[in-house]
Symmetry: C2
Subunit: 286 residues, 2 copies
């Protein structure tokens, strides 16, 4: 079967199929951002056939090859993943995957930490609760789009008092050029109430809705969509799951393309997005 490659892709749709196959019919350089939380190794065994950790990179790489092709040169690929414990150890399949993705042509730009403020309870004799996940940032080129202002956070109010009176420190440091001099441009700080965030994200996991307890909460895709796209850009989630990325995209006035292989999840996300549309783009909580 030969499917003609379209120049203009359809957006705001959920596609039922394997992302590798589906994306082969997509043109190059048509996606602004890929945000996804793929099935973790050995997890969701029923739905995805249970990829064994040892085979994870082998399973993933043909798909990421398509991601690399359909992503725009200025685009970004965010991979939310965390290795599990196998026989008392953290498995190295994620590390292996990072190394192989670089060999595939991706730039490994950054590793964000998603700190899960309310992680699952539990107790083990030789291990504490796991309250973080990796959000790996990959790019096609060094000059990718990034809109830092969109994710600024409220700043501590120390700046106000500092600005009341230009401190001697700033002047001295400026003059003496000790180390990495501070206080060069005090004027930049005037009227500033917001600060840039760091590469550690503090989001709580939300599980209020039973039917689709999200793999990641709305906050996570929203944060990355705000940071790496503008209005009307196209966001792809090749492992859509229950549709969280699509909801985040709609909330932020971006276009989405969702792909989901598993029929149950496909139907869930379909329903969720239908319901969402019926409600007229009301803000949706997870």
């Amino acid at each position: 079967m030969t499917i003609k490659i379209k120049r203009k892709i359809d957006t705001n749709i959920v596609i039922h199929g394997d992302c590798e196959d589906v994306l082969k019919n997509y043109p190059n350089d048509c996606i602004d951002l890929i945000v996804t939380s793929p099935p973790y190794a050995d997890a969701r065994k029923n739905q995805y056939g249970g990829i064994h950790p040892n085979n994870y990179a082998k399973w993933f790489l043909p798909k990421s090859e398509q991601f690399l092709r359909v992503l725009k040169p200025t685009g970004t690929f965010i991979l939310n993943i965390k290795e599990r414990v196998l026989e008392g150890q953290r498995h190295t399949y994620v590390l292996d995957l990072i190394i192989k993705l670089r060999e595939q042509g991706w730039l490994w730009t950054e590793e964000f930490i998603w700190h899960k403020k309310n992680c699952y309870p539990g107790k083990w004799p030789n291990r504490f609760r796991d309250s973080w996940e990796r959000c790996l940032q990959f790019n096609k080129s060094k000059s990718f789009a990034m809109y830092q202002e969109a994710v600024m956070v409220p700043m501590g109010n120390w700046a106000e008092s500092r600005l009341k009176k230009l401190s001697e420190t700033d002047k001295v440091r400026d003059e003496s050029k000790v180390g990495s001099g501070f206080g060069k441009n005090i004027s930049n700080w005037l009227n500033r109430k917001m600060a840039y965030p760091t590469n550690v994200l503090h989001f709580a996991t939300e599980c209020s809705n039973k039917s689709h307890c999200a793999a990641f909460p709305l906050d996570v895709p929203e944060w990355f969509i705000k940071l790496f796209t503008k209005d009307n850009n196209v966001v792809l989630d090749p492992f859509l799951g229950s549709g969280t990325t699509a909801v985040a995209a709609i909330n932020l006035n971006r276009q989405y393309v969702g792909i989901e292989k598993n029929e149950d999840y496909y139907l869930i996300s379909q329903n969720r997005l239908d319901e969402f549309t019926r409600q007229g783009k009301l803000k949706w909580k997870t």
Copy 2:
């Protein structure tokens, strides 16, 4: 030169030398915990000869082979490290090192995240500030010693003091987040007495003292020493630096062995520990 291998090792000393050479004269299975923050690749070029990222594992593995030998079967090895940016990318030498340490015989039990609450400032067009480091846990066997109760946080006290000392930044940021904030969790804590921590550690870097500005603050080694050792156990830091691990060990009534190759750092830690002893084991800040 042949040095006779002693059965009983000297403790509470700082040794000037390369840890690989020094440890070759140590017997097997004599150390309860190794906590260290080695020189990062390409950092401290003057002191350590500037290990290039590409050669990092090669440089490290002969040393870790000795660590593996001198560590007790129930012991733990904590490696604090973080890769830097090279040509716009995170380098993979740490990932490579983890994989190779496993091949060397170590079990990679856990990866703790040290969230640095006050990270270095700065602004770049394509990157946020780096506010976390890896604390990698390696073991010789699955049945290692772990004293979880030692790092439990009293719920009531913790909540109170946390609330009292809650920084303005935390308040402002948490208030701005509906549902995922601090207030939600407080109610849960009030009903409990003690809580186990997670694998995300929140410590600030302290550098108020100029003369011996520690690579990591006292909090980090203290936390791991409490978690993985008992009174009088032996803690080794093969890259002692300014001596922070030794100070932490003394504070907690553990024995220490510190090794430092660089003469300047060796002298600094010597002075620091001498001064500490003269003061009669008073609690020492950084």
